[in-house]
Structures are given as structure tokens and as C-alpha cells.
């Protein structure tokens, strides 16, 4: 038990040092990098590590006779949570959302310290001590609090009432509901039944297995499979069309969606929000190919009214590309990110 707890304590200390170092720029702020696409689960794991670390720390300190009062443990953990949310999570989350997490965190901490009568009285002991002011130290503290609390609350309310010009928060629909069918260049495509005409094997037959076997590998770099080079002259079917789709992508789409399809193209810095990141598992990996076909063809301007607010300057690509070219680009996007399109069954 002790060995286990000391390991936990070690994790806790190391984690805190690392986090502190990254916040104050002692070590580079990308020492532990947030992996794109896995961020939520990574953050949860990290917080879990910290909780294990704190448990170990508290046990060790207890064993060494330097137990931290429950009161400070509770407050300390809540402060840690707020600091973590503010400095660790990137892109930064707005204050209102952090306030929500903070409230939930506060309730959790409160539930923890008031789990039973004994804990609760341990928790409120320091407060009572200061209120009673039996010792000189506590008397001093009491006066400090008596003066500080009104000043702080007054100050906060002054700050809150001062007129401000913060950016209004904008909500947007990430995946608006698609229509049943869409008409592109005079032909109607039913989204449920349409297939990408270029997802074919060398014999020209629609073949999802063949194409799935030739997409890039997941993992760092998302590189193409050895012997599945779209630039090989001998390619027939799927890989040949991937290359053609790539050519179209790099003449039209990469300006915004980026060379690595991560939404950080040449012009992306001027956008708000920045363009969609296809390498994120929350975008094209969640959608059917026909949905992408519809979004690409109709663009931001073609979003249905339920899709408001648009917040999308995606052009209706039917103005610039043929139907074949759009299908090829969609094919390329799935190839390059290594995701399989979702299917209806």
C-alpha cells in the first residue's frame, strides 16, 4: 500500500511541477503536447493522473505527520482544477464555460468534504476557529477577513458593472441536418442511396473494402501505406482517383483547410472560427460521404435555415467544380486523413 501510495505521490509532484513549469514558461509549454483529435480523453486521463497523485501525496503527508487539513485540501483541489482549465486547455475555453465547470467542481468538492458528519466538522473546523478567534493568530486573521471580504466583493461588483466590450459568444451548429436529397448541376442525388462513383477497385466496381485497405495509416504522420502510392503511374481505380482528387484539393481547398487538412491553410488566420479540421475525429470521420458531397456542393450559403447561424464562408463548390471533381475531392479527404466514411448500415 505504502509503495503504491508513494508512487502516486511521485506522480502528483511530477505532474504539478510539469504543469507549473509549463504555465510559467520554465520548461517549453509544449513539453507534454495535446494530441490533436484525442484532446478530451487526454485531458480526462491527465486529470485522473493528478487525482491519483493527490491521493498519494495526501497519504504520504499524513504518514509523515504533516497532514494537510481537509479544508485546504478541498480548496486546493478546486484551485488546481480552475488553473488546469485556464492554462492547460488549448484553444482556451471562454470564461462562462469555465465558470460552469468551476461550479460543478465546487459542488463536487463540497460533496466530498461533507460526505459524513466527521469529515464535515473537520472541514468547517478552520472556519469556526477563525470566527471564534481564540488565539492571537486567528484574531488577526479574523480582522484581515473582515476588511478584505467587503473590499473584494465591492471590487468584483465594480468590475462587473464597468461597461465592457468583450467578444459576444457565438454558437453554431457543427453538423447541420442534411436534406434528403440535393440537386447538383441539374442532377438529383438522394443522400441515403448515393455512392461515391470513384470508390472503386481496379475493375471499376464499387468496393469499400478495397479503398479502406489503401487509405493512409493512422498514427503519427498519417502516412500512405507502403505500396499504395497514389502517384504510382500504374494505379487503376481508387488510388488513381485519390491523386486526381488531391490535385483538385491543392488547387482549391488547401488555402483554408490546409496542407494537412487540419484547417490551418494560408488564409485560415483571417477566419472566425478557423476552417474545419478534417483530421479531428469529430468532423468527416463522423459523417457519410454523401453528407460531405452535399456540404461541398452547396457551401455555407446552402445551409438550411435550421443550420443558422451559418458562420461558414465555404463556397458552393458547384460554382467552381464539376460533380466528378467534387466526388474525387471527397475521396481524397478520406484517404489523406485515414478515416473511413460512415455508412448507412
Amino acid at each position: 500500500m505504502k509503495a503504491l501510495m508513494s508512487l502516486g505521490a511521485l506522480i502528483g509532484v511530477a505532474g504539478l511541477l510539469l504543469l507549473g513549469g509549463m504555465i510559467f514558461d520554465v520548461v517549453p509549454s509544449n513539453t507534454v503536447r495535446l494530441v490533436e483529435g484525442y484532446m478530451p480523453i487526454q485531458l480526462l486521463l491527465e486529470v485522473a493522473c493528478f487525482v491519483i497523485g493527490f491521493t498519494g501525496l495526501s497519504y504520504m503527508m499524513n504518514a509523515m505527520g504533516m497532514a494537510l487539513p481537509r479544508f485546504w485540501q478541498g480548496i486546493g483541489f478546486w484551485i488546481f482544477l480552475m488553473v488546469y482549465l485556464k492554462y492547460r486547455v488549448y484553444p482556451p475555453i471562454p470564461f462562462s464555460v469555465r465558470a460552469m465547470y468551476g461550479t460543478v467542481g465546487l459542488v463536487t468538492v463540497f460533496m466530498w468534504v461533507s460526505a459524513n458528519e466527521e469529515d464535515w466538522s473537520k472541514f468547517k473546523r478552520p472556519i469556526m476557529n477563525v470566527l471564534d478567534a481564540q488565539t492571537g493568530m486567528n484574531r488577526l486573521l479574523r480582522y484581515v477577513y473582515l476588511v478584505l471580504i467587503p473590499i473584494l466583493i465591492g471590487g468584483f461588483s465594480f468590475n462587473a458593472m464597468m461597461p465592457k466590450s468583450e467578444e459576444p459568444i457565438e454558437l453554431r451548429t457543427v453538423h447541420p441536418a442534411p436534406p434528403a436529397s440535393t440537386k447538383v448541376h441539374g442532377k438529383t442525388y438522394t443522400l441515403q442511396t448515393s455512392q461515391n462513383p470513384y470508390r472503386v477497385n481496379p475493375d471499376g466496381k464499387y468496393d469499400q473494402e478495397f479503398s479502406n485497405a489503401n487509405i493512409v495509416e493512422q498514427g503519427m504522420g498519417r502516412l500512405m501505406k507502403p505500396n499504395a502510392n497514389p502517384w504510382d503511374e500504374k494505379n487503376q481505380g481508387y488510388l488513381k482517383y485519390v491523386r486526381e482528387g488531391g490535385e483538385i484539393f491543392f488547387q482549391n481547398c488547401h488555402f483554408c483547410h490546409g496542407d494537412n487538412l487540419n484547417g490551418r491553410g494560408l488564409h485560415a488566420f483571417a477566419f472566425n472560427p478557423i476552417p474545419a479540421n478534417f483530421t479531428d475525429p469529430g468532423t468527416i470521420a463522423q459523417l457519410q460521404e454523401t453528407f460531405i458531397f452535399w456540404r461541398v456542393s452547396k457551401g455555407g450559403i446552402g445551409l438550411p435555415n435550421e443550420g443558422f447561424p451559418w458562420a461558414s464562408v465555404m463556397p458552393p463548390w458547384e460554382q467552381h467544380l464539376t460533380v466528378d471533381e467534387i466526388w474525387k475531392v471527397v475521396l481524397f479527404e478520406y484517404w489523406h486523413t485515414g478515416y473511413y466514411p460512415r455508412t448507412w448500415d
Binding site: I153, S165, P168, D259
Partner: protein
């Protein structure tokens, strides 16, 4: 190998020798070995292993081929719509190096160490201001080394990185050269040196890259522009650390291969180079306190605040830029991208930011717009279309290099139109449910039109109504008389335009056409800019995202009263809690 003491002594000796040379021949700072000051001979790195090269091929054909092409000639499918064009690797000409002018860059497949591996750093941090992104976090360190092994051995065709006969490495010892503190004296000397060394001939009197902007060509005959020193985040060699003076020192010492930018190592001392670097660095945009602007790690450009605050002034709004009110007014960075939504698309966008300030009084609101444009463009004669026309005969460039009508053929060779800028605000923005905004490009439809105020370099200031991206503008009756152009000046590569317009009210203005500017409200605002020498006209232009104009309200009285009331309330509450506690302890009940 020299230890650092003897090395320092060597540099001092070299400097002393340089002084002697100055007095005799006027040719300074070449050390006894014939090397420029600050440089040392280096060894060529060993050839990367065959496995590295083979693995690199896989990386190259997944990620790089799309712009750099199958043979690395910088002619991939993406190349023809990019400016600057992707690098042609065949000649072995690389821009950002630690090596002397004309030499190959540092590359060692076994040493991914910053400062000792130029190509690795280029791939890691990308080349800001071009389409080359940073590959850190996308490709692993090993993958980056692999792809470079492939490029340097297979795609660099005219030179060989390992050939001791033809190649040499003279390496700038940047790690050993301590930056000189950027004192006023150092910057002043740097400011004099950039004139003396003729930097201003290309980079312009204020360093905005506006000198000799039309006659410069790179090694492949493509037109090229001098860097704008005020946008250090666009420096190719900024290594995602734009305010670091060492980057400027390095580029100045080694030159930029393949471009007209020479190395100044032979005719400046290290000390002089630091002065120049300090001066150039001091020109980069900073906040009012003189601190570097915060850079957004997602885009490697300055962080954007989408609210443009407008401060109130009593009486007339001043037109003098040096006026206290303008100096105090917060300055906002407005990022501009090419309009690539509807034809004709603007793939090569020359105007990538505008700096906006605003002031208002009870009748008017004034926008002060400043942006860098290397050329003042005023169309000769009358334009072949009416000011209201949007659907005009401007062709989108064909994506074929070398052919008539391609971007490459057009670069610096357009018919010159007017430079122009426009502010677009939403009409009836109050009727839009909270987060809904009309379409950014000239409005959505008749129901949600836009109020567009456009200034052109011919001196005109016009007001239009926009009802859709493909609709020509509608003229607005006598609104122009209510507006006023307070300033329009082009100086050393920068436009300063000050536009005044009424804040509007229901009584005098047309509710269906004019935006009413209301104090304390977020008014959706978009900016458009045209560079006449880039052939910009109609929809071929630079656009911003939606920003908000926010007229700061005067602070209401309550702000000072309520907090005091609350504080007093808290004091009373404290008293109550304490009394209760002590009563309880004494066994009394309240």
C-alpha cells in the same frame, strides 16, 4: 577545435584586424582566414542511410508532392496558384540558412538540433507568409529527418550535399554570438546603417518593402517582393519566434539564396549587424507599451480581438493622427484573407492586415484605417465599369504556369486599378436574432441588406447598398453628402485613410439602407481591401471575417454607487454572523 577563450581572442583579433583594414582599404570584418566575421569553417555531414531515404520517399509522396511536385521542381498541382511559389529543390537553392551566401544549408540526418540543421528547422516551423506550414506535431522528428534525407539526396539534382570537391560549409556561429542589447543607441546606429548599406533601396524608407517593388526577380525569373519589416510574423526565417532578433541577424548575415537579398557578412562587422538587426526588430508592430504582440499558436499571426472599440470624444473628431484622442484609441489588428469564395477568386492576396481605430461623437463615427501596400495605385483614365458594378470582367487566373493569364505571368504585370477600402456594416442588425449575421460578402438578400462605404484611391468616397454577393451595388440617395473623407494619404508603403459617417437615427436617415450605430451595442462590421497593382477590382479583393464595432458608452453613475452599497451590506452581514456565533457559544439564543 578552439576553446571558447581562444575563440573570443580570435574574434577580437579579427575585429582589430578589421579596423586596420578599414583604415587602409575600406573593406572591413574579414578575418585572417578569409572568413567573414562570425563565421567558421564547418564539415559536410555524412550521407543519410538508404533506409532513411526510402522511408522519406513515403513521407514525401503523402505530404509534400502536392506542392513541390514529383521531381521536386516546385511544380506540384498546388504550385500554380501559390505566391510565393513552392521551392524548386533541383538546384539546391535554399533561403534560410546558417551558411554563407550561395552555400547549401546545414542538414544532418542524424542531428535534429536547432541551430545546426537548417532544413530540419524549416520543416519543423514552416515558412510563415508562404503556404509552407509548420510540420511539428504532424510529422514526428524522425519522419521530418527522413523526408529531408529523400529531398536532399534524390530531389536536389544539380548539387550534392556530400561532395567535398564542390561544396563547402562556412557556418555562422550564432550560438556563440551574444545579441547586443537593443539600446536606443544601438537602434539609432542601425537606423543610420540601413541607409548607408542601401537596405532602404529595396525595403523602403520605413521598411515596408515598398522600394523597387517591381524590378526584383528570383533565380527562376519570378517576381519577388522585399520583406516588410513591420510584419515580423511573416518573415520566412522567423522560426515561429518572430520577435527574436537573432533571426534577423542570421538572415542579414547569410543572405537569402536565390533572391536579390545578399549577404552582408563581408561588409559589416558583427557589431554593426546586431545594430541593424535591433533596428529592424524594433520596427515590428508592438502594443502601446512596446511589448511584442501576442502570437496565436494556431495561426502564427497576431492574436485577434474581434471587437473594434470606439471611444467617445466631445465636439469635433480630430483629423490629426498625432492628436491625443487617436493616440489613446485602441488599435485593432484586422486579419485579411483573399476572397476565394466566388469567382473571380483572389488566390494571391497582397493585403493581409488592416489596423483599425475608431472615435465617435454625438453625430459621427470615424474609422481610421491603416494598411501596408507596397504601391500606390490609381487607375489611369476612367475605369471601364461603373462604381456600383460588382460583376465585372475580371478573369480568374488559369492554374497553368508560363501560359498567358497564369498567376506567374500576371505577377506585377496587371492592368492597374484603384487601391480601395470598404467598411460594410449590417443594416437592421437589431432585427437579426442574437448570433445571426448576414452573409459577409455584400449581404444576403433584400431583407438583410448591407450598408457599404467604399473609398477609392481616385479620391472618391461612396455609399452603397449590397443585397447579395452576385448583385451589383445599389446607389444610395444623397447619403454621400453626409459622409466626409477626413484623410487619405499614401506614405512610404502605407495608406492612412480616415472616413467619417453619421451614426444615424430614425429621424433623418433611411432605416432600410443605413446602419444605425448605437452606443453599447455590437454592430457587425466587415472590411474589404483592394490592391490596384494586384489587379484587384470587383470581387477580386481581400476580405476580413465579421468584426464588431462597439461604441464604448460613458460609465454610468450606478457603477460607482452599487459596489459601495454592496460592500456595506457585506459588513453588516459579517457583524450579524459574528454576533450570532458568539451568542451561540455563550448559550444564548437569538
Amino acid at each position: 577545435m578552439m576553446d571558447s577563450m581562444t575563440q573570443k581572442a580570435g574574434i577580437i583579433a579579427a575585429a582589430a584586424f578589421g579596423v586596420v583594414l578599414v583604415s587602409t582599404s575600406g573593406y572591413s570584418s574579414v578575418s585572417a582566414q578569409g572568413l567573414p566575421e562570425g563565421f567558421k569553417k564547418g564539415e559536410l555531414a555524412a550521407e543519410p542511410s538508404a533506409e532513411m531515404i526510402e522511408a522519406g520517399k513515403r513521407v514525401y509522396f503523402t505530404k509534400c508532392v502536392w506542392c513541390h511536385g514529383v521531381d521536386g521542381a516546385g511544380d506540384g498541382p498546388g504550385a500554380d496558384r501559390l505566391w510565393p511559389r513552392p521551392r524548386n529543390f533541383n538546384q539546391g537553392t535554399f533561403k534560410i540558412r546558417h551558411t554563407a551566401s550561395g552555400e547549401l544549408p546545414l542538414f544532418d540526418a542524424k542531428k535534429p538540433i536547432p541551430g545546426q540543421n537548417d532544413l530540419f528547422e524549416t520543416v519543423t516551423h514552416g515558412l510563415p507568409g508562404s503556404a509552407m506550414p509548420p510540420w511539428e506535431g504532424i510529422l514526428s522528428e524522425e519522419q521530418r529527418q527522413q523526408v529531408l534525407s529523400f529531398v536532399t539526396t534524390q530531389l536536389v539534382k544539380d548539387r550534392k550535399f556530400t561532395d567535398k570537391q564542390s561544396e563547402s560549409q562556412t557556418v555562422l556561429q550564432l550560438a556563440d554570438l551574444k545579441p547586443k542589447p537593443a539600446t536606443d543607441e544601438s537602434k539609432k546606429r542601425g537606423g543610420e546603417l540601413i541607409v548607408e548599406k542601401k537596405c532602404v533601396e529595396c525595403h523602403g524608407m520605413e521598411g515596408r518593402g515598398d522600394g523597387n517593388a517591381f524590378n526584383l526577380k528570383d533565380d527562376w525569373g519570378f517576381s519577388i517582393q522585399p520583406a516588410n519589416w513591420h510584419k515580423c510574423w511573416n518573415f520566412r526565417g522567423s522560426r515561429q519566434d518572430p520577435y527574436n532578433v537573432s533571426n534577423i541577424f542570421r538572415t542579414f548575415s547569410t543572405g537569402v539564396n536565390g533572391t536579390p537579398m545578399p549577404s552582408f557578412a563581408d561588409n559589416t562587422s558583427v557589431d554593426e549587424r546586431w545594430d541593424i538587426a535591433n533596428f529592424v526588430n524594433s520596427l515590428c508592430e508592438r502594443d502601446p507599451l512596446g511589448n511584442p504582440l501576442p502570437i496565436d499558436p494556431l495561426t502564427d499571426k497576431p492574436k485577434i480581438n474581434f471587437v473594434i472599440p470606439s471611444d467617445m470624444v466631445e465636439g469635433e473628431i480630430p483629423t490629426d493622427l498625432e492628436h491625443e484622442a487617436w493616440k489613446k484609441a485602441p488599435k485593432r489588428y484586422v486579419a485579411m484573407g483573399g476572397q476565394i469564395t466566388h469567382k473571380p477568386r483572389n488566390f494571391v492576396n497582397r493585403l493581409d492586415d488592416i489596423w483599425v481605430r475608431s472615435l465617435y461623437n454625438d453625430k459621427h463615427i470615424v474609422y481610421l484605417l491603416e494598411w501596408d501596400d507596397r504601391t500606390k495605385s490609381v487607375a489611369e483614365g476612367k475605369l471601364p465599369w461603373a462604381p456600383t458594378q460588382v460583376n465585372i470582367d475580371i478573369k480568374e487566373q488559369d492554374p497553368k504556369t508560363g501560359e498567358e493569364g497564369s498567376i506567374a505571368a500576371h505577377q506585377n504585370n496587371y492592368t492597374v486599378y484603384n487601391d480601395a477600402i470598404a467598411i460594410e456594416t449590417a443594416v437592421k442588425w437589431k432585427e437579426l436574432p442574437a448570433p445571426i449575421k448576414p452573409r459577409y460578402l455584400f449581404g444576403t438578400n433584400e431583407q438583410f441588406p448591407m450598408d457599404i462605404v467604399k473609398w477609392e484611391a481616385d479620391g472618391s468616397l461612396r455609399a452603397f447598398k449590397g443585397t447579395g454577393w452576385d448583385k451589383d451595388f445599389e446607389e444610395r440617395d444623397n447619403y454621400e453628402e453626409a459622409m466626409k473623407l477626413l484623410k487619405a494619404e499614401w506614405k512610404n508603403g502605407r495608406w492612412y485613410v480616415m472616413i467619417q459617417r453619421p451614426v444615424g437615427n430614425k429621424k433623418d436617415q433611411d432605416y432600410d439602407e443605413d446602419t444605425f450605430f448605437e452606443v453599447g451595442q455590437y454592430i457587425p462590421t466587415v472590411f474589404f481591401a483592394w490592391d490596384g497593382h494586384n489587379g484587384d477590382a470587383g470581387r477580386k479583393m481581400a476580405v476580413s471575417a465579421f468584426y464588431y464595432t462597439f461604441m464604448n458608452p460613458p460609465v454610468p453613475q450606478e457603477t460607482y454607487i452599487y459596489p459601495v452599497v454592496i460592500a456595506v451590506g457585506v459588513v453588516l452581514l459579517e457583524g450579524w454572523v459574528l454576533t450570532r456565533r458568539s451568542n451561540k457559544k455563550k448559550g444564548k439564543t437569538l
